[in-house]
């Protein structure tokens, strides 16, 4: 059953402009249709993370646990395949199989190799563990283990993720309705990579209808809507009342309990600020099929992308995160067939078995085909987002040029839980801050079968903060085990 027929690109155009299916999005949307909040900066820089849980697609044929210095990316005759790596190790960007959908946008991409999640490697058991990797990949922070209310052992970052740092700082400069838009394609995963502060994971919306209601439902269309005004006024009255209730509790609390209530109050006041700021925005966004269920990943993915796009175009936010769970893409060909569990990560865990010495070597090609299709679907969503932004002129270029998009995962090789040589794909340049159309390789080993790097995601994230105008000298945990601190060389 196809439930997503009315939210494809064409429907987007239809909803936005009401005509002209053949026109580029720009012509249907520029002018009065897409509003801007008052006092907005002339051209705002934007940051978007697409996070794919469970690693990219590479296989290695050995069973040994990875150790630093080993390549786990498919390089060399003994090492199987790496579907993420560019076909050319040099600076000329020649995309790998997973990135096929991005070929037309190559000039606006920057692919990084040889970059470690150093904070993760330093802290994780076995040099790579889901919970530690997830908590550190976007935070570069110290992480700690604890037990949640249901009794599960969890690991939480003790610092904010890059997206939330940018959301908070950009929002302080330019108060848009949403410091960040956080949506997710639901399914198996080991914890969000996004944190708003110490031990404060960001919870992302998994239902497309609710995501629409939250992010776009309060936007006025330009014509007076007394019902919306009444609804928003009631909403503000409610939140005022609720906040008074939480404030009355504060003096009675232990320091631990006060953290909870203080956070609740902060969120309530953010909700109220959101309603009030939304009242200043006029925009015709998209329509969304509210019947699409969370588990319907095939259709949820494109809707969530369109919601982010609409939120960006309507000037509702400067930061967005799209989390993609580790799912099997059942609606695409699945030539490899069943894996230990019905989750994408299990597909990666059979990587070793599909190597030349593995028990499933006979099915190696099927495995590669299924992995390319599965991971390629996620890149397809990245492409949809990228193309959407690139179709809107802004300043001397497009909206994409003023945006920095990052695609990553908690692992490179998901089978070995490797936190070295992370998958890091950038698109756009945050207004020319990064030079795109290139591949940058930070692996310094001279032996082609070895791997050595001193460069970490904390360096990249420092550079990104700098690109957004924040002069940070370092991002994340300060540990002598880090290769070096400061920005990543060669990006400009």
């Amino acid at each position: 059953m196809k439930r997503g027929t009315n939210f494809g690109r064409r429907a987007f155009l239809r909803a936005a402009g009401g005509f002209a299916l053949a026109l580029p999005l720009l012509e249907a949307t520029h002018g009065d249709s897409w509003g801007k909040p008052k006092n907005a900066a002339p051209i705002a820089k934007r940051f978007i993370v697409v996070f794919r849980h469970g690693g990219t697609a590479s296989n290695v044929q050995r069973y040994e646990i990875g150790k630093l210095g080993d390549r786990l990316d498919g390089t060399g005759p003994e090492q199987g395949h790496d579907l993420w790596a560019p076909k050319d190790p040099g600076e000329t960007l020649v995309l790998g199989p997973i990135h096929a959908a991005l070929e037309a946008h190559k000039s606006k991409l920057l692919l990084l190799s040889g970059v470690d999640n150093a904070a993760g490697v330093l802290q994780s058991p076995y040099l790579g563990d889901h919970r530690w990797a997830n908590s550190t990949i976007m935070t570069s922070a110290k992480a700690t283990e604890s037990t949640d209310a249901a009794g599960n052992q969890i690991v939480l970052a003790q610092g904010p993720s890059l997206d939330q740092v940018l959301a908070q700082r950009l929002s302080a400069q330019n108060a848009l309705p949403f410091p960040s838009v956080n949506v997710m394609v639901d399914g198996h995963q080991y914890g969000t990579p996004f944190f708003s502060g110490p031990a404060r994971p960001v919870n992302s919306e998994t239902n497309p209808g609710k995501a629409f209601d939250t992010y776009l439902g309060g936007v006025g269309s330009g014509t007076p809507n007394p019902e919306l005004v009444r609804r928003q006024a009631m909403g503000v009255s409610v939140l005022d009342g609720v906040m008074d209730g939480y404030k009355a509790l504060q003096p009675k609390l232990s320091s631990q309990d006060r953290q909870v209530v203080d956070a609740h109050l902060t969120q309530l006041s953010e909700l109220e600020r959101r309603i009030k700021t939304l009242q200043t925005v006029t925009c015709t966004p998209i329509t969304v099929d509210h019947g699409v269920q969370d588990a319907d990943a095939e259709h949820v993915g494109p809707i969530m992308v369109d919601i982010i796009l609409a939120a960006m175009r309507c000037g509702l936010t400067q930061v967005a995160t799209l989390e993609l769970a580790d799912i099997i893409t059942h609606w695409l060909p699945t030539p490899f067939g069943d894996v230990a569990f019905d989750i994408g990560h299990s597909l990666h865990h059979v990587a070793s078995d599909c190597g030349a010495k593995g028990t499933q070597f006979a099915k190696q090609q099927q495995w590669l085909d299924e992995m390319v299709a599965n991971r390629g679907w996620c890149i397809g969503l990245f492409q949809r987002l990228l193309a959407g932004l690139d179709s809107v002129p802004e300043g001397n270029g497009t909206m994409l040029d003023n945006t920095l998009m990052l695609y990553t995962s908690e692992f490179s090789n998901g089978s070995f839980h490797s936190e070295n040589n992370m998958p890091l794909l950038l698109a756009g340049s945050a207004g020319g801050a990064f030079r795109t159309g290139r591949h940058l390789n930070f692996n310094t080993a001279t032996d082609p079968l070895a791997y050595q790097s001193k460069t970490g995601t904390h360096n990249l994230f420092t550079s990104i903060l700098n690109a957004f105008g924040f002069p940070d000298a370092h991002f994340g945990v300060d540990d002598p085990g880090l290769g070096f601190k400061g920005p990543m060389p060669g990006l400009v």
């Binding site: 646990i65 249901a150 939480l156 080991y190 009631m234 009255s237 939480y246 019905d342 070995f416």
Partner: protein, 556 residues
């Protein structure tokens, strides 16, 4: 072996009196001295503010507003790892309050015409009546002032009905409703720093512990009359345990104990899709039936006294046609008809031998001795293992692999070869494997198999003999055993299993683990469970203990 018998589904055995009534009064109330069982230290852990679970919030809304489960099914409040409320959670609470208020159920409590212009008097009455129920304690003067202030301010802009809605929306996401926060009160005879949980706080402790919902009118009345102590408290506990809501809670508690809803480590029953080539009978309807069967078994054991040994030994099964076929029951129900049947006692005994447990702890194609064995240790014995190395996770063990001489290897032999040569692997697997091997006669769907049948990695169909000899090495019921029925018999008599189960009641009661101050309370609960073997006794024991009736304040 018992012959097959079929009972009518309706012929559920009524709750029989259990030992809680006689053994519960381990101490005699003596004047104003606290009522503490013999041998238990009068102490309790700090009470920490915590949110209702998503299910508790949903059921509280159902009971508060007089709604049906279906009315609140779409209310899904997220949980926040780490306990700090996220923007999404607070936003969803606001949405839920709006959605629930739109149903209009709260307006029925108004004593005047809601459609008219109303009056402050009518609004204040509504605030007092609805607030005292919603807040789970009589509204305080401060709360009335706060809420009437909201009403008065809203009424300046909105209709009377809308103004009541604003007040109701505030209440439904107020800290009094969303969180459990306890103040406690001083009482005679308590050591420094210890407080008695107030009567209304105790009512909520009871109702969320035993029902996952708010107190009912009878419990509120008991709190109002200060009857929640000693025999009065035990009488309420007994009444509540006999209520169908307790059965629902116990079924969910046991489902959580078995982790049948999935964790980061493994999938849920619904997600445990099997290889269609090998298991053409597997489908969502079958898995739904599998869940129901284990729920009904747990519910039946609960209704028959909650005996832990029966959980691990019962051959009763509530099945429909496809499940009867799965279990090889002859003359059982067909199609969608459900009936109680007796399963072959040489093949099945209790929850660990039912399809729900067996298919969750298996791969799509073959059973997983490692998952089954580690589940027994982790869940039933509260024994934790360090995480396996990444390359070990989900490594396919297909069975039918061959040794160097070309002889096909069984799953057991393959697992042994892959886990027992490396000393690091061996340290855990020497315990896990012999437990998991006992389940060798159940395939990945939980069907009985006399011989292991499978497809080798090379695609060749093979059969192998099944060796189910094993051990619960290092436990209180260690020793050789053969098969899952024998293993279950050992679990049924194990003190370690009962101690584990008793400790799990803490999380159900307090949303946290056992506190340092509560060691003797835990011992008391464990002793009661060991003495009577009844989960009912463990629950009543916890309610009887100082851990439940007293509290400390957290560090300011």
């Amino acid at each position: 072996m018992r012959s097959l018998s079929v009972w009518a589904a309706a012929a559920l055995v009524a709750c029989t009196s259990t030992s809680e009534d006689v053994t519960g009064s381990a101490s005699k109330p003596n004047g104003t001295a606290p009522d503490v069982p013999a041998g238990v230290t009068l102490d309790a852990a700090p009470s920490a503010l915590h949110p209702l679970t998503p299910a508790q919030y949903r059921r509280t809304m159902r009971d508060l507003l007089g709604l049906a489960d279906a009315d609140v099914a779409s209310i899904k409040i997220p949980t926040d790892a780490g306990g700090i409320p996220s923007l999404l959670t607070v936003s969803k609470l606001d949405d839920a309050a709006t959605q629930l208020t739109a149903l209009g159920a709260h307006r029925k409590l108004a004593t005047c015409d809601v459609g008219g212009s109303g009056s402050t008097e009518c609004a204040t009455k509504f605030i007092t009546d609805f607030g005292s129920k919603a807040f789970r304690h009589p509204v305080t003067p401060d709360e009335v002032t706060w809420l009437t202030g909201i009403y008065t301010s809203a009424r300046l802009s909105f209709s009377f009905a809308d103004s009541l809605d604003v007040v109701a929306r505030v209440m439904l996401q107020s800290p009094q409703v969303v969180y459990v926060h306890e103040e406690g009160e001083p009482a005679d005879g308590l050591p420094a720093g210890l407080l008695a949980v107030t009567q209304y706080e105790l009512a909520s402790r009871l109702s969320y512990f035993l029902w996952d919902s708010m107190p009912d009118d009878a419990l509120f009345a008991a709190a109002a009359q200060k009857q929640l102590k000693g025999d009065g408290l035990r009488a309420q506990a007994k009444r509540m345990l006999d209520d169908p809501r307790a059965r629902t809670k116990i079924v969910e508690f046991m489902t959580a104990w078995m982790e049948l809803d999935g964790t980061a480590r493994h999938v849920s029953i619904e997600e445990a899709v099997k290889d269609p080539a090998r298991f053409p009978g597997d489908n969502p309807a079958l898995r739904a039936a599998v869940r129901r069967e284990t729920q009904e078994l747990v519910g039946r054991v609960w209704e028959q006294g909650g005996k832990v040994d029966a959980l691990f030994t019962s051959t009763d099964a509530y099945v429909n046609g496809p499940l009867a076929a799965l279990y090889g029951v002859k003359n059982g129900p067909t199609g969608d008809a459900w009936a109680w049947v007796t399963l072959p006692a040489d093949q099945r005994a209790g929850i660990a031998t039912r399809a729900a447990f067996l298919l969750v702890y298996a791969n799509p194609d073959i059973p997983s001795p490692i998952r089954r064995g580690s589940a027994v240790w982790r869940e039933f014995m509260c024994t934790t293992f360090p995480p396996p190395p990444p390359a070990a996770m989900d490594v396919m063990i297909k069975g039918g692999e061959t040794d160097p001489s070309g002889k096909p290897l069984s799953i057991r032999q393959t697992v042994t070869a892959k886990t027992m040569l490396d000393p690091v692997c061996m340290s855990c697997h020497q315990k896990v494997n012999p437990t998991g091997f006992a389940f060798g006669h159940y395939d990945a769907l939980g069907q009985w198999q006399d011989k292991e049948k499978g497809v080798s990695p090379a695609g060749v169909t093979y059969t192998a003999d099944i060796d189910t000899t094993g051990d619960l090495m290092g436990s209180d019921v260690a020793g050789p055993l053969d098969g899952a029925v024998a293993l279950s018999a050992k679990l049924a008599t194990s003190r370690q299993v009962k101690d584990c189960l008793a400790s799990r009641t803490w999380r159900a009661a307090f949303a946290r683990d056992v506190g340092d101050e509560e060691a003797t309370s835990l011992k008391y609960v464990q002793d009661r469970l060991a003495a009577s073997g009844s989960l009912r006794d463990a629950l009543v024991g916890l309610i009887d203990s100082p851990a439940f009736q007293y509290m400390r304040k957290g560090t300011p």
